[in-house]
Amino acid sequence: MNPKDIIRKALEEGRTKLLEHEAIEIIKYYGAGVADAYLAKSAEEAANIADKIGYPVVLKIVSPDISHKSDVGGVILGLRNRLEVMDAYQKIIDNVSTNAPNSRIVGVLVQKMAEPGGIEVIVGGLRDNVFGPVVMFGLGGIFVEVLRDVSFRVAPVSFEDALEMMKEIKAAKILEGYRNTPPVDKNSLAKIIVATAKLLEENPEIDSLDLNPIIAYPDKAIVVDARIILKKR
C-alpha cells in the first residue's frame, strides 16, 4: 500500500497511531533504509517471512491497544530458525492473551534483527503551528532523553541542511568515530532526514513521528523502529 492508503485506512479505523509495520512501510516508501518487517497472522506465515528476510529475526506483537510491547511479553529477540520463530509466535500470542487480555491482536511483526555495532540516533518530525513541518536529529539514548542534545530544521530540508544538522549537536564528534569506532555513514542519515521532511510535507494528516532508533553503521543507516502519529480529526 502507498502512504496515502495506509493513512486513510488507519483514519477509517479510528486510529491516530499507525501500527509499526505501517509506519515502517511509509518510511521505506520514502527511500529510507529500514529493517525489513512484515506482518504475520500465523506461526507458519511468520516462519515463511523469516526464511525470506533472513535470520536472526525479532518478533513483535502488533496491536492498536498495546504501546509498551515488551511489558506484556510481546517481543522476542534473536530467533535463528523456523522452529524458533514458530514457537515464539505462539508464545507471544499466549503472553499477550494472559497479560493484556482485552487487546485486539492484528498479528505479529517479523523483523530482521539489527546487526551488532553501530550508533543509535533519532530522527523526528512534527508539524508546528507557525512554521509547518519541522525535523529533528539527535543521538539516541541519554543524549536525547537526558541532555536533549538535538537540532531542528524547518522543511523543506536539503541534503546539505541535513548534514549541517548532524554537525550542530554537541555530541557531533561521536558520529565521526572515536577510539576504535569508525565514522558512521552520514549520507545515509542525511537521506533519512530529507525523507522525513518530505513525508511530512506530502502527508498533512501526519502530526508527528519518531524514527527511534535508527542504527547508523559505517556503510548504512537502518530505521529499526518507527512511530507515526496522525492528527486527531
Binding site: G124, L126, V130, F131, G132, R148, S151, V154, S208, L209
Partner: protein, 468 residues
C-alpha cells in the same frame, strides 16, 4: 495575497496628509502628544479630528475625518476601543487607505468584548481595503518623513538622530526604550515600527517594506511570536532581504514550551524557541540572545564588510588582553593562526626586539601610535588574514589621538573586518566615540567582541554562499 503583502505600505511612512482622530489640547494626553510630534517634524498637512474643538494647538480641528476638505493618506486613531469601529468606518467612507490604531482594549484584554471589537475592526478594514497597524500599539517613528505616533513625550523619550537602522518590535515599551537608548548612544535610526496586536500589517509586511527601503541598511526585530501559519512566508521574505541587508532578531519568550501533549518524543523535545532558532539560521537571520548583543551585533554588521574566512589576527599593547581574546575567539570557533614567516620577518624589521610577533601580536606597554600603524599596515592586507582585532588599552602613555587617524586610514585602504577592544574610563570612552564615528566598532570586553565577530562571520558565510 502576494499583492496584498506589499501594497499600501508607503502611505504609513510617507503620507502627504495625516488625520489624528482623538486629538486633544489636554496636557499629558496621548491625543495631544501625537499632534505635537507631527507638528515638530512632519511636512505634510495635519488634520486634528475631535467634535469638541474648533482648533487644537493652532491647527484647524474637524468634527469627523469625513469633514476634512482634502485627501487623507494616513489616519491615526486614539479614541476609546468601543468607538474605534465607527471611526474606522468613517475612514473607509473618506477613502483613507492606511490607519494606525493606537487604542488598546481589544483582544489583548482577554475579554469577549475585546475580541468582538477586534473582529469588527478586521471586518471593516477588509470591507474598505484599509491597511491597519495595531491596534494596541505605539505605531511608527519615521526619522525621514516625521511620522511619529510614539506617544511618549520628547522629554521622556529622546528621539535618535537619522541613520540607517530600522526596527520592528512587537512590544511598544521595548521599542520606545530602544529608541531612547539609541538616542542616548547617538545611534542613527531610520524607521521604527511597533505593531501591537497585528490584525493586518505584521512582521512579514514590514521586513518586505524595509527590505526595499534604501534608507534602511540593517533591520532589528523584537518578536514574541509569529502568527500561526505565517512562518514559511516570513522565512521566504527574510531570505530575500538578508541577501542585501542583515536582519538581527531578538526572540522573547525563549523558555515557554509548546503545550502540545507529547504523543511522540520529537513533539516533547521541540520547544517553540528551538524551532524559531532553526528557522532564523536557515534564512541567515542573525539572532541576538541578549539585549547587549543587539547593539553589539548591529554596529559590526553596519560598519564592517563581509568576513571571508575564520582566521583572526590579534594585535595588542597588553599581553593579558591578547590571551583573553585568544580564549574568547577560540571558544567561538575562530582560528588564531600562527604568524607565517614572511609576516614575522616584516614585523621584526619594524618592531623593537622585545615585541612578540607571534599571533596574538604583542606590541607591549611601551607601544605608541606608530607601532600600531606599522603593524596594522602589514597585517591587515595579508590574504591569510580574515579579520583583525586591536586590543588597544588607552592607559599606556604612547597612545594618543593619532592612533584613531592611523587606524581609520589603514582600515579605509583595505576595508577588511577590523574591531577594537578598549577598556577603561573617560579616555577609553573618548577613543570609542571617535573610532566609531570613523566606522570602526569598539567593544569593552574580549568576549563581546568575539561574539560580535562571530555574528558577522555567520552572516557573511550565509550571504557569500548565496543565501542557502
Amino acid at each position: 495575497m502576494a499583492s496584498r503583502e506589499s501594497s499600501g505600505m508607503e502611505a504609513f511612512f510617507n503620507p502627504r496628509s495625516v488625520a489624528i482622530i482623538g486629538a486633544t489640547p489636554k496636557e499629558g494626553k496621548v491625543g495631544r502628544v501625537i499632534v505635537e510630534n507631527f507638528k515638530r517634524r512632519f511636512k505634510g498637512r495635519i488634520y486634528p479630528i475631535n467634535p469638541k474643538y474648533e482648533e487644537i494647538l493652532g491647527l484647524k480641528c474637524y468634527p469627523s475625518v469625513k469633514d476634512v476638505p482634502g485627501e487623507v493618506d494616513l489616519a491615526v486613531i486614539v479614541v476609546p476601543a468601543p468607538i474605534v469601529p465607527r471611526i474606522l468606518r468613517d475612514c473607509g467612507e473618506k477613502g483613507v487607505k492606511a490607519v494606525i490604531i493606537i487604542s488598546g482594549g481589544f483582544r489583548e484584554t482577554g475579554t469577549d468584548e475585546g475580541r468582538r471589537l477586534e473582529e469588527e475592526v478586521v471586518e471593516i478594514s477588509r470591507e474598505y481595503g484599509i491597511r491597519v497597524i495595531g491596534p494596541n500599539c505605539i505605531g511608527i517613528y519615521d526619522n525621514w518623513s516625521g511620522v511619529d505616533t510614539y506617544f511618549l513625550p520628547d522629554k521622556k523619550m529622546k528621539r535618535p538622530p537619522r541613520g540607517s537602522i530600522s526596527f520592528i518590535s512587537q512590544s511598544g515599551a521595548f521599542a520606545s526604550a530602544l529608541l531612547d537608548w539609541m538616542a542616548y548612544n547617538n545611534i542613527g535610526v531610520s524607521r521604527a515600527i511597533s505593531y501591537g496586536n497585528k490584525i493586518d500589517v505584521d512582521d512579514i509586511d514590514l521586513i518586505e517594506y524595509l527590505g526595499k527601503d534604501d534608507k534602511t541598511k540593517l533591520i532589528i526585530m523584537y518578536i514574541e511570536g509569529l502568527k500561526n501559519g505565517r512562518g514559511k512566508l516570513f522565512m521566504e521574505k527574510a531570505r530575500e532581504v538578508v541577501k542585501n541587508k542583515p536582519i538581527i532578531v531578538y526572540k522573547a519568550g525563549k523558555t515557554a514550551r509548546g503545550s502540545k501533549a507529547a504523543a511522540s518524543h520529537t513533539a516533547a523535545l521541540a520547544g517553540n524557541y528551538d524551532i524559531y532558532r532553526a528557522a532564523f539560521k536557515q534564512v541567515g537571520i542573525v539572532e541576538a540572545e541578549s539585549f547587549d548583543e543587539i547593539g553589539d551585533f548591529a554596529k559590526i554588521l553596519l560598519m564592517q564588510p563581509l568576513m571571508k574566512g575564520n582566521r583572526v589576527f590579534v594585535v595588542t599593547d597588553a599581553g593579558g588582553i591578547g590571551v583573553m581574546l585568544t580564549d574568547a575567539l577560540t571558544r567561538q570557533g575562530f582560528e588564531i593562526p600562527v604568524t607565517p614567516d614572511d609576516l614575522k620577518n616584516e614585523l621584526r624589521e619594524v618592531l623593537p626586539p622585545h615585541c612578540i610577533v607571534e599571533n596574538p601580536i604583542d606590541l607591549t606597554g611601551d607601544a605608541d601610535d606608530e607601532r600600531f600603524k606599522l603593524v596594522l599596515e602589514r597585517v591587515l592586507p595579508k590574504p591569510y588574514v580574515d579579520a583583525v582585532i586591536l586590543g588597544a588599552l588607552p592607559q599606556i602613555p604612547g597612545l594618543t589621538n593619532r592612533f584613531i587617524d592611523y587606524v581609520a586610514d589603514v582600515w579605509s585602504k583595505y576595508r577588511k573586518p577590523l574591531l577594537v577592544i578598549d577598556i577603561g574610563s573617560e579616555e577609553a570612552v573618548k577613543f570609542k566615540v571617535e573610532l566609531e564615528s570613523r566606522g570602526i566598532p569598539v567593544y569593552e570586553s574580549p568576549e563581546r567582541a568575539a561574539r560580535a565577530l562571530k555574528a558577522l562571520y555567520m552572516y557573511s558565510k550565509y550571504v557569500l554562499r548565496g543565501g542557502i
